[in-house]
């Protein structure tokens, strides 16, 4: 079947990169996929600039800091289809567990109470944490949700092949919260 190639961009925001590992866990299907998609921007490839137009954007992780938000907005702007990949992206998952505590308390716990050497709050070179962690759709519109921690390679495969074939992806049979 002669389907057009898709350009794909991926990024992880506040996540553990497990969803990206899952993407790489496709075994021989990865070769098949590489013949049909071009990864144009991703932590997995060298390209470091998000092209003007991308067919599919895969976002892992939740939005927890200023950089996450900026990147999510850029993905929304440049990607035709935006996919929320994994539990952190669709419901906040582990990163959002800090929402039960005030941000100041979270920072103090991480950088003062549990630190023996030079306890201090990081100020330079790191993006500012936002008060609350939100899933991707808490800030930008999302087209496809893929729950799972991580979503299985099969789930990601199904989503990508559906998009390649112009169908609406529905991975609900093969993945779920927690997966």
């Amino acid at each position: 079947m002669n389907t057009p190639r898709l350009t794909v961009a991926t990024a992880w925001l506040d996540g553990c990169s497990g969803c990206h590992m899952s993407l790489l866990d496709m075994d021989q299907r990865l070769i098949e996929l590489s013949e049909r998609i071009d990864i144009v921007y991703s932590p997995l490839v060298d390209a470091k600039a998000l092209p003007e137009r991308v067919d599919v954007g895969l976002l892992e992780g939740s939005i927890s800091n200023a950089d996450d938000l900026a990147l999510a907005r850029r993905f929304r702007e440049h990607c035709r289809v935006l996919v929320s990949l994994g539990d952190c992206a669709v419901n906040g998952n582990v990163p959002a567990m800090r929402n039960h505590f005030p941000l100041e308390q979270v920072l103090a716990r991480a950088y003062r109470e549990n630190v023996t050497l030079q306890p201090q709050l990081p100020e330079r070179g790191v993006p500012a944490l936002r008060q609350r962690v939100v899933p991707i759709h808490g800030e930008v519109a999302v087209d496809v949700f893929v729950p799972g921690c991580p979503p299985s390679a099969e789930a990601i495969w199904q989503v990508l092949t559906a998009l390649l074939e112009g169908r609406d992806p529905d991975p609900s049979a093969v993945t779920r919260f927690g997966a």
């Binding site: 539990d87 567990m97 039960h100 899933p135 609900s172 779920r176 997966a179």
Partner: protein
């Protein structure tokens, strides 16, 4: 298997469920009949062998000609009734009810010992809940790990009261009950003291087995290891019926 005709007075009625013609005794509820005929009706509070609670509202069905929805767990079959269990409207409502439950407490499946064996998680998948539109209620509860064998995590509790009912109706201890009101409700042992200090708990573990989520679990289980076994319940319920 029905015994010798011990209930001769009960009539048998016929009715339709999703275009299937069915018959049942008139004292049976819709959910009993549907489960018997493998017509899926979601529910989190209903459990065969325990009294009907009617709290989760997931088993709501449409009855043709009746303006209000009916909860299948607390609706008896009626001659000639026509029931729809899987309409677009019901699917939408169930999806929102599951979403509401997820938003009420910190249900984080990925780090839960019941991951993969949780009725709430399974239901979310079946109902098509693939993301959360509502913010989590910003309240968190302590975990009670005082009991030597079991653990209670309120953040996973959906207040279905299966533990309360099994403890009262089957074990007869009535260690569990619910305190407070509204979203502040919490299941408690005795006077809301640590479980290990309960004077009435027999440590029988029935509450753990009937709990649909990871709220009540065995100590020492790690993520995904907590598998529950409820086969004892209908057997015990029958044995304990007055004969």
């Amino acid at each position: 298997m029905p015994g010798p005709a011990s209930q001769p007075k009960v009539r048998v009625v016929t009715f339709r469920v999703d275009d299937q013609d069915l018959s049942a005794r008139e004292d049976e509820t819709l959910i009993e009949v549907c489960r018997e005929h493998r017509i899926p009706i979601p529910s989190l509070c209903y459990l065969e062998g325990l009294s009907v609670w009617g709290g989760c509202r997931l088993c709501m069905v449409e009855i043709v000609g009746q303006p209000r929805l009916a909860a299948a767990c607390s609706t008896r079959v009626i001659e000639g009734m026509e029931v729809r269990t899987d309409t677009e409207r019901l699917r939408r409502y169930r999806r929102i009810l599951v979403e509401l439950l997820f938003a009420e407490r910190a249900h984080v499946c990925s780090v839960c010992v019941s991951n993969g064996h949780c009725e709430l998680q399974t239901l979310a998948q079946r109902c098509g809940v693939d993301h959360m539109r509502m913010p989590r209620r910003p309240v968190s509860y302590p975990v009670d790990s005082s009991h030597e064998m079991f653990r209670l995590d309120h953040d996973r509790c959906i207040l279905c009261t299966r533990c309360v009912r099994v403890c009262d109706e089957i074990e007869g201890a009535h260690t569990w009950d619910v305190m407070g009101r509204g979203s502040d409700c919490r299941v408690i042992t005795d006077m809301a003291q640590p479980w290990a200090e309960s004077e009435t708990c027999t440590s029988c573990g029935k509450c753990v087995q009937v709990c649909p989520t990871g709220a009540l679990v065995k100590q020492g289980t790690s993520v995904g290891e907590m598998v529950k076994d409820q086969h004892f319940l209908p057997i015990l319920a029958r044995r304990r019926q007055p004969r």
